[in-house]
Structure formats: structure tokens, C-alpha cells
């Protein structure tokens, strides 16, 4: 009976979402434990890579797909770098690896998450990192209901795991021990964990269960009782207390400890997700103790609740059953009649729901976008025209596996829609590429021709500049004044040289010769004396030229890049687009097939559940019909007995009068005000048989 343990997040998730889901939602060992608890802790360091931050932005909003795509892209690019340690992403590399594993786990990609973590375990990383990885791997195995593998992973931990996950690791270890039937070890671990605020309530619950399973019933009950007595404003904690009380009440009732069981049922809050079952249980405790009048109090309360609930439906039979036991058969008959009406209507609803599911309306409703945004969307699905009555599916939908199926189905639908959107985008990209091609292709040949002309001039100027630079370099080493002569100076020098050469062949005056030499000397002197200043001037001008040349080169490079960009904007995409389109289409076919299979599974399980409930109601209907007939018979019988009794009493009274009167007239038979004229035992709303004690007891119970 006390069979499984509970995880903190399982309760939190459900309490935050569909609180009216029943016990199953709390019992499952879900391990989608808030992965961001760990990632968040690591976020202490400053951000070094914007794109890592952008992926985290998606991750913190639980948009797992986008976050995984972002991180995968970053990791892939990082791994392809020649010197990855120089990239700012290296500061986040470790965290990114862990985060991908976490995100994949949250996105229900356990294989990938497991692979990522195993890679960390095999890698050359410090032991604390390995320990944390082993803990995460254990979580995955535990979630996949593989406790042995989980334990194996936990055994890989050497030393202590990082402090921030230590309590969770110990808690997981305890639950693994419980799954493996090693309750004493679980008890020991859970005792050590008591007082850990993050797992408050869940430790005590599991400790109580472990003690019960280990055979220490007294301590187990005491532990659970203490937990059940807690009151909390937190819906999750309150739900845990209620669940504990319901469990203990049921446990003690099964053990035959009826007096001890009742208070536990009474402690369950009247409006919580466990209230219906608690009311039913409270009634059964009293009924088993033979106090049917007291059993009626919770059952009557339950009878007025949502008619689709299993406990409420059972109470519809339990109430007349109790009335029958109290010999109030006419009221029992009325209640059986009421139950039959209800069952009939609910069977019709169930039949319509089954038809609706078979027509695909259920899956259609699940695919709607509102499902993501509306709280308690499972319940609100029923408001969609033609959708099935989802109240009947709440228990099923709250189960761990069904939740997984639902999420998978919705994930597949989301992926399908994403691919569809990409296919549309690809068409748009092709249009864009075509427009670019039509624009650039006629334009580029003319541009290229002009560019070639410009390019030739630019190259010539560049060569000139290089020549000047080389000369200046040379002049720094060897003095060459003639290199810095102005054109008129150089021309004059040349002219003077020619004149001197001509004087060799002609007879000229000494004066003229000296004059030529003097003029040449003046020019040489000027070149020699102004050499340094001119060299400095030339150097400065070269610097100015370099600035201009640099600008020219920038424009040149910019043009070259723009030219390349223009070409790249429309060439080289055709094959890529063709390839990804084909892969997208393949992926769509695959997703379509998987959606159909997952959808079929969801429909089958939903129909099975509805059919089970319908069969149950039909069974109740049969029982109610027999019980109704029996109640009529008994009511009739009782009425006849009463009639007979009344007659006997009347006769006795008459006989007494005759005796007293000494044989005077016999009194006429009195008319019964309640007896039907035709003898038909009609049920009565307020039968005299109900009696004061039962009503009094009910009133007391209600007051309590």
C-alpha cells in the first residue's frame, strides 16, 4: 500500500499547475528537477560572451529548444577554433556543457543528456565536476526508472559533491535505496537530511514511508503524523500534508485501526485535491465501525460535489447504502434513483467523449496554442466545442507517463510548426536571392570594368609611393642632395652642365667659365645646405601621402568587400537550400509519423480511461438498480410490518376497551395518515425511520 516515494519538484510542479489533480500527481518520482537551480548558481561570474547570455535568456524562460540550439551552435563554433582558449566563450565553456545536458534533460532528451554527462565523466576535469556529473547521470537513470544504474552512477562519486547539490544528491540516493528495497540505508540518509529547508516536507514524507517499509510502523506513523499536522500557506506543502493524512488514514483503516484512522481523514482540508477521497475514506471508517449515521455526514457532503469525480460517484452509492443499513429504505430508494439519473447522464457524457476522441477532437484541442498559456488547461479543454469531458481524464493526465506523452506530443507539434515555418522562410530566401541576382548581375560587369581602370591607376600610384619611400629610406643612409632638388633647380643644373660641356669645344672667356662654375656651385651649395630641411619636408610629405594612401586602401578594401558581398549575397545558396529543404521535408514526414503514433497512444489511453469509467458507472448502475428494487421491497415490507403492527395495536386497544366496557362496541380501525391508499411503497423524503439520533449525529459532524 505504502509504495512509492515523492519528490519535491513533482509536488511543486503540480501544485503550481493543476492543483485539483489527485494523489497520483504527487506520488510519481518525477525527476525533472529544476535544472536551473544549478545553472543559476554558476551564473555568479560576469558575462564574457553575449551569445551565451542570449541562450541563457531563452533557458531561463524554459524555452529549451531555442536555448539548446543557441548553446549547441556556440559549442560547435568554439570547438572548431584553432585557439579556443583565446575566445571569450572559453569562460563559459564548462557551464555551457553542463547547461546543454540540463536543458536536454528538461527537453526530455535523456539520451543526449546522458551522453553529454558521460562525456564530462570521461573527460579530464576536476573530481568535483565529475561528482556533479555523476549525480546528474544518476538523476537521469532514476527518472528512467533504472534505480540500479542510478546507484551505479552515484557510486562513481568520490569525495563530496559540490555543496549546492549535496542535499539533493543525498535525497536522490535515499530514494534510489528505497526503490531498491534498502530501506534501512534510506532511513539513515533521510534522518541526516532532516532540517534541510529546500526539501522540507519531502524528507519527512519519504522517511515515514521508508520507516513503514522497513517494518518500524510506529516510528513511520509518528513521522508521517507530524508531517500531516503541519499547516502551510504554500499549496504544495499543504498538498503534501493532505496526501500524508490520506495515506495514513487509508493505512490505518486497512490495518483495522478505525478509531485511529478517522482523525487523519478529518485533517485533510475540505477544498484540497485530496478532499474527495478523504471524505469517502472518512465515511468508510465510520461505516466499517457500524456507525452508518456518522458515515452519512462526509458522504452527503461528497455527494453534492463534481459528479465526474470517482469518489463522488462512489458516494452516490454509499449514501443510500448507509440509509439502507439504517433501515431508512425509502430515502435509500430516493438516493438510488438520484444516483441512477446521474450515472445515466454521465454514461452519455462518457460515450460522447469517447466519440469525440475517436473523431480527433482531443488531439486537436491539445495542439491549440492556449494550452501553453492557460492555467489548468487540461480542465479548460472541455469548454472547446466537441472536446471530450476532461474532468474524467484528470487522474490519467496527472500521471507521470501521460504527462510525458502529452509533452512529447506538443513538442513534436512545435517542431513540426517550426519546420513548416522554415520551409516558408526558405521560399522567401529564394525570392530574396533571385531579386539580388536580378539586381546585381546586370550591374556588376560595368562596375567591374570601371573598377579595373581605377585599380590600374591606384596600383600605379601605390608603386610611385613605394618608390618615394624607398628613396627616402636610401637617403637616410646615403646623402643624395640631387634627389631633393626642385625641378627648376635640377633643370638649371643640367643646363649648366651642358653649357660647360659645350665650352670644351669652343673658346670662351675665363670669366664665362668661372661664371658657369659659380652658378653651378651656388646651386650645389643650396642643395647641400638645404638637404636636411628638404629631407625632413620630404619625410613629412611621405607621411601625409601614407595617410591618403591608407584612405585609398580603405575605400579600395571596402569596395572589394562590397563587391564580394554582392556576389555572396546570391551565389552559393542554391545547393544549401536544396539540401536543407529536402532534410526539412524528411523531418516533417518523420515528425508527422511520430505525432500520429504518440497521438494514437494518447487517444488510446484516454479512451481506455473513459471506457473504464463508463464500465464502472454501468456496474454502479446495475448495483443501483438492484439496490433500488431491494430498497423498495424493504420499504414496502417495513411499511407492511408497520401497518400490521398498527393494526395489532389497534386491535389490542379495541380489545382492551371491550374488556373495560364489558363487551361494548368494538372501536373502528384507525386510518393511517402515512400509508398509501393503494399500498404502493412510495419513497419518503423525510421518513420517520431516520430517527433523531442519526440526525443529531449528522448535525454534530457538520459542526465539527
Amino acid at each position: 500500500m505504502v509504495d512509492r516515494q515523492v519528490s519535491a519538484t513533482a509536488v511543486k510542479k503540480r501544485a503550481a499547475g493543476v492543483l485539483l489533480r489527485p494523489l497520483v500527481g504527487l506520488v510519481m518520482p518525477a525527476l525533472l528537477v529544476a535544472p536551473w537551480g544549478v545553472a543559476k548558481d554558476r551564473n555568479e561570474e560576469a558575462l564574457k560572451d553575449l551569445f551565451f547570455g542570449a541562450s541563457m535568456f531563452e533557458a531561463h524562460q524554459e524555452r529549451y529548444f531555442d536555448a539548446i540550439v543557441g548553446l549547441d551552435t556556440e559549442l560547435d563554433q568554439y570547438r572548431r577554433l584553432d585557439e579556443p582558449e583565446l575566445d571569450p566563450f572559453s569562460a563559459h565553456f564548462g557551464q555551457a556543457q553542463f547547461s546543454v545536458g540540463d536543458l536536454e534533460l528538461s527537453y526530455r532528451m535523456h539520451h543526449e543528456a546522458g551522453r553529454a554527462i558521460e562525456a564530462v565523466l570521461k573527460g579530464n576535469v576536476p573530481q568535483p565536476v565529475k561528482n556533479e556529473a555523476a549525480y546528474r547521470l544518476a538523476k537521469i537513470h532514476y527518472h528512467k526508472q533504472q534505480p540500479r544504474n542510478a546507484l551505479h552512477a552515484l557510486e562513481m562519486i568520490e569525495g563530496r559533491v559540490p555543496e549546492r547539490v549535496r542535499p539533493e544528491e543525498q535525497f536522490l540516493r535515499a530514494r534510489v535505496f528505497m526503490e531498491l528495497g534498502r530501506f534501512e540505508e534510506a532511513v539513515s540518509l533521510l534522518r541526516d537530511l532532516k532540517g534541510e529547508s529546500r526539501l522540507e516536507g519531502f524528507i519527512e514524507y519519504n522517511l515515514g514511508i521508508a520507516l513503514l517499509k522497513a517494518g518500524d510502523a510506529e516510528r513511520g506513523v509518528a513521522e508521517l503524523t507530524a508531517l500531516g499536522k503541519r499547516r502551510s500557506g504554500d499549496p504544495a506543502q499543504q498538498a503534501l500534508s493532505d496526501k500524508t493524512n490520506l495515506l495514513l488514514g487509508s493505512y490505518l483503516m486497512e490495518a483495522g485501526e478505525l478509531e485511529r484512522a478517522r482523525p487523519y481523514f478529518d485533517r485533510v482540508q475540505l477544498e484540497g485535491p485530496f478532499s474527495n477521497r478523504a471524505l469517502l475514506g472518512a465515511g468508510w471508517v465510520e461505516a466499517r465501525a457500524g456507525r452508518y449515521d456518522r458515515a452519512l455526514v462526509p458522504w452527503k457532503l461528497l455527494q453534492a460535489r463534481q459528479a465526474t469525480n470517482e469518489a463522488v460517484q462512489e458516494s452516490m452509492l454509499a449514501v443510500p447504502f448507509a440509509y439502507g443499513k439504517l433501515d431508512v429504505h425509502s430515502t435509500a430508494a430516493v438516493n438510488y434513483g438520484f444516483a441512477l439519473d446521474k450515472f445515466g447522464r454521465e454514461i452519455d457524457t462518457l460515450t460522447a467523449s469517447i466519440i469525440s476522441i475517436r473523431e480527433g477532437k482531443f488531439l486537436e484541442a491539445l495542439r491549440r496554442k492556449e494550452a501553453d498559456q492557460v492555467k489548468n488547461w487540461v480542465v479548460t479543454l472541455r469548454d472547446i466545442p466537441g472536446a471530450p469531458e476532461t474532468h474524467y481524464l484528470l487522474d490519467l493526465m496527472a500521471s507521470n507517463d501521460y504527462q510525458e506523452f502529452l509533452r512529447n506530443y506538443r513538442d513534436l507539434n512545435d517542431l513540426f510548426e517550426r519546420n513548416e515555418s522554415w520551409l516558408e522562410s526558405l521560399t522567401a530566401y529564394e525570392d530574396l536571392i533571385s531579386l539580388r541576382r536580378n539586381y546585381y548581375e546586370p550591374l556588376l560587369p560595368g562596375l567591374d570594368q570601371k573598377f579595373r581602370q581605377l585599380d590600374a591607376r591606384i596600383r600605379m600610384r601605390m608603386e610611385e609611393r613605394d618608390k618615394f619611400a624607398a628613396r627616402i629610406e636610401q637617403m637616410l643612409v646615403t646623402r643624395r642632395p640631387e634627389y631633393l632638388g626642385r625641378s627648376e633647380e635640377l633643370e638649371s643644373l643640367e643646363e649648366l652642365r651642358q653649357l660647360r660641356a659645350r665650352t670644351r669645344n669652343q673658346v670662351v672667356g675665363e670669366d664665362s667659365l668661372r661664371r658657369l662654375e659659380r652658378l653651378e656651385g651656388v646651386l650645389q651649395f643650396r642643395l647641400a645646405t638645404e638637404y636636411d630641411a628638404r629631407l625632413t619636408e620630404a619625410y613629412k610629405r611621405l607621411q601625409q601621402l601614407n595617410v591618403e594612401i591608407e584612405k585609398l586602401q580603405t575605400v579600395y578594401q571596402s569596395y572589394v568587400r562590397s563587391r564580394q558581398a554582392a556576389t555572396h549575397s546570391y551565389t552559393g545558396y542554391d545547393d544549401t537550400i536544396r539540401n536543407v529543404r529536402a532534410r526539412l521535408q524528411q523531418s516533417q514526414d518523420r515528425l508527422d509519423m511520430l505525432m500520429a503514433r504518440q497521438g494514437k497512444m494518447l487517444e488510446t489511453l484516454a479512451i481506455d480511461e473513459l471506457e473504464r469509467r463508463r464500465a464502472q458507472l454501468e456496474n454502479y448502475q446495475i448495483k443501483a438498480r438492484f439496490a433500488l428494487a431491494d430498497s423498495y421491497d424493504r420499504a414496502n415490507e417495513l411499511q407492511e410490518q408497520r401497518e400490521d403492527q398498527r393494526k395489532v395495536e389497534a386491535l389490542q386497544k379495541a380489545a382492551e376497551i371491550v374488556i373495560e366496557d364489558g363487551g361494548a362496541e368494538v372501536a373502528p380501525e384507525p386510518e393511517s395518515s402515512t400509508a398509501p391508499a393503494d399500498g404502493d411503497p412510495l419513497p419518503q423524503q423525510n421518513p420517520p425511520e431516520l430517527g433523531v439520533p442519526a440526525e443529531g449525529a449528522s448535525a454534530q459532524e457538520v459542526e465539527q
Binding site: 497520483v24 542570449a54 524562460q61 529548444f65 535523456h110 501521460y402 530574396l432 537550400i577 497512444m601
Partner: protein, 169 residues
């Protein structure tokens, strides 16, 4: 008669309840295939995102703007408006989840532009509330110096302290 007992037992082993109509192997097989399909789509999407970026925002013209909040900020950011070259290019209203994601260190890529090399004026305005409920608004300017490679600008909105600060990446 005592269905509550049966119910409780049923509840406690609920995950096994529908094993009859759908087998565990079937569930596991389908789950494996779904995981593979997810991995395929993730890889395909990563490729498509890169293709899209290359096609729509080539590196020589790409300029991307990111919004962040200081760590543990208690400031409630409500809206941000981004003007580039004196034109409103982005306007965003924040949901609760987005705000929480920013507070936890997430960075929102608010806008990606195609701009030529050179300087471009950027103006950012925000609207929000302080922890005490006081309305806060501010505007700040920055010059985006776009060069050959892609340009990334982080816009940190601190609310009360330094209001808005820019960081070129």
C-alpha cells in the same frame, strides 16, 4: 465495498495503471525515436539559423543590440525602445518571465540591423518601476562605430543607479 482502499493502492501505483493497453517497450521505443527526431531538428535548426544570419545579416553589415540588467536587480523593466539612425527600430514590452530571465543573467537580443561601416547614432529609452513602485524612465545615447566585422552592443539598464550604460563587444 471499501473502494477507498483499492483507490489508494491504485493511486500509489498509478504510473503502471495503463501498462495493459500500451506496452512499456512500445512507450520506450517511441520515446527513443522522438528523442532522435528532436536531435535532428535541433541540428537542422542550428544550420538554418546560421544560413539565415549569413543571408540576412552578413558580417560586414551586421550590428546586433542586446539588453541586460545588472545582477540581482530589483528594478522592474517594463518597456525598451531603441532608435538607430534616428529611427525607431525596436520596441519591446517585457513579460514577467522575460524580466526574471534578465535578472538571472540572461541577455536579450533585441534587434539586429544591417548598417554600413561608419558611425551611427543609437538612442535607447526605457520605462520601468523601482522596487518602491516609483516610475522610472530615462533615455541615453551612444555612437555605434561600425567597422568591417560584425558589431555587438550591450545595453545595460540599471534603472535607478546609472540608468543606461553601453558596452561595445
Amino acid at each position: 465495498m471499501f473502494r477507498i482502499l483499492q483507490l489508494t493502492v491504485l493511486m500509489l501505483s498509478a504510473s503502471l495503471a495503463f501498462a495493459q493497453s500500451v506496452s512499456r517497450d512500445e512507450i520506450r521505443g517511441l520515446d527513443d525515436q522522438i528523442q532522435d527526431a528532436k536531435q535532428d531538428v535541433i541540428e537542422l535548426t542550428a544550420e538554418l539559423v546560421q544560413l539565415e544570419e549569413k543571408l540576412l545579416f552578413p558580417s560586414n553589415t551586421q550590428a546586433a543590440f542586446f539588453v541586460s540588467l545588472p545582477k540581482e536587480s530589483s528594478f522592474d523593466l517594463e518597456a525598451v525602445e531603441v532608435k538607430l539612425n534616428n529611427e525607431v527600430v525596436a520596441h519591446h514590452l517585457y513579460t514577467f518571465r522575460e524580466l526574471e530571465a534578465l535578472r538571472k543573467g540572461g541577455v536579450q537580443k533585441i534587434y539586429t540591423a544591417n548598417v554600413q561601416s561608419g558611425n551611427h547614432p543609437l538612442e535607447v529609452s526605457f520605462l520601468g518601476k523601482s522596487a518602491s513602485g516609483r516610475e522610472l524612465r530615462a533615455t541615453a545615447s551612444h555612437t555605434v562605430e561600425k567597422r568591417v566585422g560584425p558589431k555587438f552592443v550591450e545595453i545595460e539598464i540599471a534603472g535607478e543607479q546609472s540608468a543606461i550604460s553601453f558596452k561595445d563587444w
